[in-house]
């Protein structure tokens, strides 16, 4: 009875929303990381600090900010609600919380690997007639790819571990918004140790796989 339907349901829900959130942040995180690695503009460091804030802020505070932004009484929430999209207290809330909390990890790793790409290569590619788009996709991205994948893996694992922001924005509704972390908390609160330990083992296993592969990627990049 240990590997119950519920256990699988929770694991599957966490993995799929975590995966979606990683997919969601890639098209924003990669160009933004490139901008920060290659361009300069006034107040760049202020913007950079803001992007990285969720990394150090208490997740609950981030969750509260998100609740205020996406709650139905805010203009954004109202605008979305009018178009039939509700973020708060359903799986989309989980998605947003995960995306916001894991974004800085992808951003940081991608920015570092863009910085490590020799700008001379991009310049020479330009003299050979390549457009900015071609240079980005044929030179820059492939050379930074390991760092980007490592960052995406880290972001994914961070998304799976998300708790504070999720519980505020999406609540802890079994079968609807309950992720691995929320479920462990729930089972412990209810005194049901056995299912809590099963979920615990799953989270440890997943975290191990992700951190290990991300480190492996970064190591072999340096080895090249």
């Amino acid at each position: 009875m240990i590997f119950s339907f519920e256990t699988w349901q929770i694991t599957f829900f966490s993995l799929s929303v975590g995966f979606l959130s990683t997919l969601l942040i890639l098209p924003f995180g990669i160009p933004l990381a490139w901008l920060f690695a290659r361009k300069d503009w006034p107040l760049k460091s202020v913007l950079e600090t803001m992007v990285l804030l969720p990394l150090v802020m208490p997740p609950v505070s981030t969750g509260l900010i998100l609740l205020k932004i996406f709650g139905r009484r805010s203009p954004v929430g109202q605008w979305l609600y009018d178009r039939g999209i509700e973020i708060v207290f359903n799986w989309k809330g989980v998605l947003i919380a995960m995306a916001v909390m894991s974004f800085p990890l992808l951003f940081r790793s991608a920015r570092t690997s863009f910085t490590e790409v020799n700008p001379r290569l991009e310049q020479i590619a330009a003299t050979l007639g390549a457009s900015a788009i071609k240079i980005f996709f044929v030179i820059t991205i492939p050379l930074a790819l390991r760092g980007i994948i490592a960052g995406a893996l880290l972001a994914f694992s961070r998304a799976l571990g998300e708790f504070g922001a999720t519980i505020l924005l999406a609540g802890n509704i079994p079968g609807k918004t309950q992720t691995l972390s929320l479920a462990i908390y729930n089972f412990v609160q209810l005194g049901q140790d056995a299912p809590a330990y099963v979920l615990l083992a799953i989270t440890v296993g997943l975290a191990f796989i992700f951190v290990w592969s991300s480190e492996w990627l970064l190591r072999s990049r340096r080895g090249r």
């Binding site: 001379r120 330009a126 003299t127 050979l128 457009s131 030179i139």
Partner: protein
């Protein structure tokens, strides 16, 4: 070709205004003169404060007319010092990177990759990853990549400087071949006089961002400001010739110079092509006023002194002896032999003093 630009740099402003029309133009000057900056400016990789850059009558930059073409539209093939091959692509993909560019001028004919690969002898490298070729090979691949992109102008940034001496001697003949086989004007940056003399037909000398002199290399190098560098720099004569045959047991080969005169050099394997290049240091040539006899040196070349340039305690002679030889001897030797311009002398060169490149 017109290069006129002002570029503010950290320690000085690069200011230059020259017009020239040559097949190979050497930008010559000591390290830190702003030579690479100048190439970057021509390629559009460095911001120019004001000025004008014109190649084959086409303005690449003009602050007056508000023209500033982006690098991709300049049609300039750039071979930087460090080759800058794309490390994640094979040699073949590197060379073909710029191949699909439409030519900017209909007169610029496409140069096929096959031809370029043959001339530079890199056919066996094509399917290798870039990480598995040597420094000299990387330079040739970078050169091929630039040529295949159909440039109207090739920029070479000290292609020999990043290589060790042995390598250096192997890439020089390829540069000469590029000059001779493809009708692309070349601007070549260097701080090495021997390279200038063997490759360039025009030289622009700069020092700390300022124009010093320009002209045909031998003439311009004689103008005094540049000669201060000549006293201590290694100075080599580089001569083209045809391989006539060799005798491994005797340890010698015979080479016919462009003038028709034959010289004996230490034995070398026959070169791949018809022509080869010989190098002999200006310090390894003896001067005699009478034909010496019973001497081990294989080459005794009669000639005439055409130039005599004092460099501190040393003197740089130019001797026409079936080719122009630069010879560097002490002032004492000049006085003892009473050497003057127009005097007939014999140059004595050991077979082993020649190196086949």
């Amino acid at each position: 070709m017109r290069l006129c630009c002002r570029i503010p740099l950290a320690s000085f402003d690069l200011e230059i205004d020259v017009t020239f029309d040559a097949k190979v133009t050497a930008i010559f000057g000591p390290s830190g003169s702003g030579k690479t900056t100048l190439l970057d400016a021509i390629a559009g990789l460095k911001k120019i404060a004001s000025g004008e850059i014109e190649v084959n009558g086409r303005a690449l930059f003009s602050s007056k007319r508000g023209i500033d073409l982006p690098p991709r539209e300049r049609g300039v093939g750039y071979v930087p010092q460090e080759a800058a091959l794309f490390p994640h692509l094979s040699v073949r993909k590197n060379i073909l990177f710029g191949a699909r560019r439409r030519s900017l001028e209909p007169t610029v004919a496409a140069i096929g990759m096959k031809h370029v690969v043959e001339v530079l002898e890199i056919g066996s490298l094509l399917d290798r990853p870039v990480s598995q070729i040597s420094g000299g090979e990387a330079q040739r691949v970078a050169l091929a990549r630039a040529i295949v992109s159909r440039p109207q102008l090739l920029l070479l940034d000290e292609p020999l400087a990043s290589l060790d001496i042995g390598m250096k001697e192997k890439i020089l003949p390829y540069l000469a071949r590029v000059r001779d086989k493809f009708a692309i004007p070349i601007i070549y940056v260097t701080h090495n006089i021997s390279e200038v003399l063997s490759l360039a037909d025009w030289i622009v000398m700069i020092r700390r961002g300022r124009f010093v002199a320009q002209g045909p290399p031998r003439q311009a190098l004689r103008s005094t400001p540049a000669l201060r560098d000549l006293e201590e720099e290694p100075l080599d004569n580089i001569l083209s010739g045809a391989w006539l045959g060799g005798d491994q047991r005797e340890g010698t080969s015979r080479v016919r110079l462009a003038s028709g005169r034959e010289v004996v050099v230490r034995y070398a394997e026959p070169p791949a092509g018809q022509t080869l290049q010989l190098k002999v240091s200006a310090d390894d040539i003896l001067v005699a006023t009478k034909r010496p006899e019973a001497i081990s040196a294989a080459n005794v070349l009669p000639g005439t002194i055409t130039q005599l340039e004092p460099l501190g305690g040393q003197v740089l002679l130019e001797v026409e002896a079936g080719g122009i030889f630069s010879v560097r001897i002490t002032a004492a030797a000049v006085n003892r032999l009473n050497l003057t311009v127009g005097k007939e002398v014999f140059l004595i060169i050991k077979a082993r003093a020649f190196r086949v490149l």
